[in-house]
């Protein structure tokens, strides 16, 4: 089967979306940093330790599947756990996907107040991440800075379960952790801006721990949003305007608050790229965020555990809704593409866009 010939490059296609223009076809974003590694015969530990291998894997895999390589991320630049001194372990089992926390940096209330700000150049994975970004820069791509939201990162410092308890009982502890997470993220962002220039930096944020599977929308509104607001103010003051937000998981109850923030003067610049999990209907996402590019949202487990027909059909359904979105649409999995997805299932995104994703 010969796929239809693209009439635009990946860069032109993305730029069209960012200019609110129709591209030739719907772009595809893999969200697939771990899948790329397996796709090229590398290990998930190498994703963390070998930026060159990870970059090559991303480049080759995006070429293979004809997916968008620009704005694609590697792994988190800053980590609430690792950066603040948690004991970590590399993926060491066939069932492990990423680095995991063995012991949290913060376990007691005293630990919160004694916590020190990490070094913005050497903590955690930062040295490896900047190496990766240098490769993106060398290739003429924007460099992607990826972090959790301040609220999420704060929770990662002490572990979500402890954070959840403190949020009800002693919210000042959570405030302190979120504050430190925010300051650290911005310190490291400054390092990126100093190294590459603000205009080259794409800031990608994800917020899985803000999902309503864990926290109520009232908690998100009270404790997460103020930090989103401050974060965007200070990020824009640095000159960083390119923003991508992975609104992960069940966040339907948060959407009204996020939408209110997004449309305010303090909100993110438009269009930004907002990606959603399968839990949020694309039409709802478009309704709440009319000025942004919507990305998503095929359920990741379908790629791994479903048949190729199911994967294809789910992609088709997303395209049916997504191509009508006025602000623009990118087809993607609803969260990270599972690394063990059969390659043919992953390729269904390519085939579905070929069959249903062209704008005539």
């Amino acid at each position: 089967m010969e796929l239809r010939q693209d009439r635009m490059t990946h860069k032109e296609r993305l730029q069209a979306l960012l200019n609110y223009q129709k591209p030739d076809r719907v772009p595809i974003f893999g969200m697939a940093s771990t899948f790329y590694m397996i796709n090229c015969g590398h290990t998930l530990t190498e994703l963390q330790t070998d930026p060159q291998k990870a970059f090559n894997a991303m480049q080759w895999s995006c070429e293979q599947y004809n997916w968008q390589p620009l704005w694609e991320h590697l792994a988190h630049t800053v980590l609430g756990s690792w950066d603040f001194g948690a004991k970590m372990k590399m993926p060491d089992s066939p069932y492990a996907m990423t680095i995991a926390v063995e012991t949290n940096a913060v376990q007691t209330e005293d630990d919160v107040w004694n916590l020190r700000m990490p070094d913005s150049k050497t903590a955690g994975a930062i040295p490896k991440r900047i190496e990766f970004c240098r490769l993106q820069d060398k290739a003429g791509w924007p460099v992607v800075f990826f972090s959790r939201s301040p609220f999420n990162m704060g929770a990662d410092i002490c572990g979500v379960q402890q954070f959840a308890r403190w949020l009800v009982r002693k919210p000042q502890l959570c405030d302190q952790l979120i504050r430190m997470a925010l300051e650290h993220s911005l310190n490291v962002l400054q390092y990126w801006v100093d190294t590459f220039g603000a205009e080259k930096v794409v800031y990608m944020m994800s917020s899985p721990s803000e999902a309503n599977q864990i926290f109520s929308p009232k908690h998100v509104q009270k404790y997460a949003l103020p930090y989103h607001r401050e974060f965007h103010q200070r990020m824009r003051a640095m000159g960083v305007n390119k923003f991508m937000f992975h609104i992960c998981g069940e966040q339907n109850l948060n959407l009204p608050y996020l939408a209110e923030f997004a449309s305010s003067a303090d909100g993110w610049s438009h269009p930004s790229i907002l990606s959603f999990g399968h839990e949020v209907d694309l039409e709802d996402a478009a309704k709440y965020f009319p000025d942004d590019i919507i990305m998503g949202n095929v359920e990741p487990a379908i790629f791994q555990a479903g048949t190729s027909q199911q994967a294809y059909e789910h992609c088709r359904m997303c395209l049916e809704k997504g191509r009508k979105i006025r602000g623009g649409f990118i087809l993607a999995p609803g969260c990270a593409l599972p690394p063990k997805s059969p390659p043919y299932n992953a390729w269904m995104m390519t085939k579905a866009v070929n069959d249903f994703g062209w704008y005539e």
Binding site: Y95, M97, Q161, S216, L253, A301, A305
Partner: protein, 222 residues
Amino acid sequence: MPSEERTQELIKGLYDAVVDMDEEAAADLSRTILREGIDVYQAVVNGLTAAMEKVGELYTSQEYFVPELLLCSDALYAGLDILRPHIKADETETKGQIVIGVVEGDIHDIGKNLVKIMFDAAGWTVHDLGKDVKLERFAEEQQRTKADIVALSALMTTSMVAIPKVIQMVKAQDPNIAVIVGGAPLTREIARSYGADGYADNAGEAVAETTNMLNQLKKSAS
């Protein structure tokens, strides 16, 4: 001998303490229950267990979220730790035994912990293997404890592929052991294709689903 009215007052107080996440009140009331000679078993079942059923409903209906659930469980255990040792021997018949854990490669255990709490509260004996559990440990622990059920949790698509292997290992030792699974990337359909006997969408549903599953298995065995 406490009056029926006083008994109900204290048990209701205990119930409210758990639902209202009041750890201190749960502990105080439990001590009062002991001091006043209230039926401990009744207090546990109608106070603590019933309260956690209510908490489960509130969670399923998205009135309570994880923080609330955790704090309710703290209150539950504050009471249970005081009352449980005083339950009479003939009243300690357990609803069942369950081995629970998060499969190898996965360290996300909130869901598993919440499910464990629900089973504890409901009077099950829970053997918690923790998180990132080597696959063979589930079958080993089931054999050691003679548990009726094995419950598996996975949050990641990478770790969920371990589930069918664990199910195979468990059933190779005893095909009559029932396995229930849960976790974000799973669906009832995937659970079935993996060979699981049951699936719970969230902690609130886990106990009911398991009880149903066990009853069905007993029915088909007889």
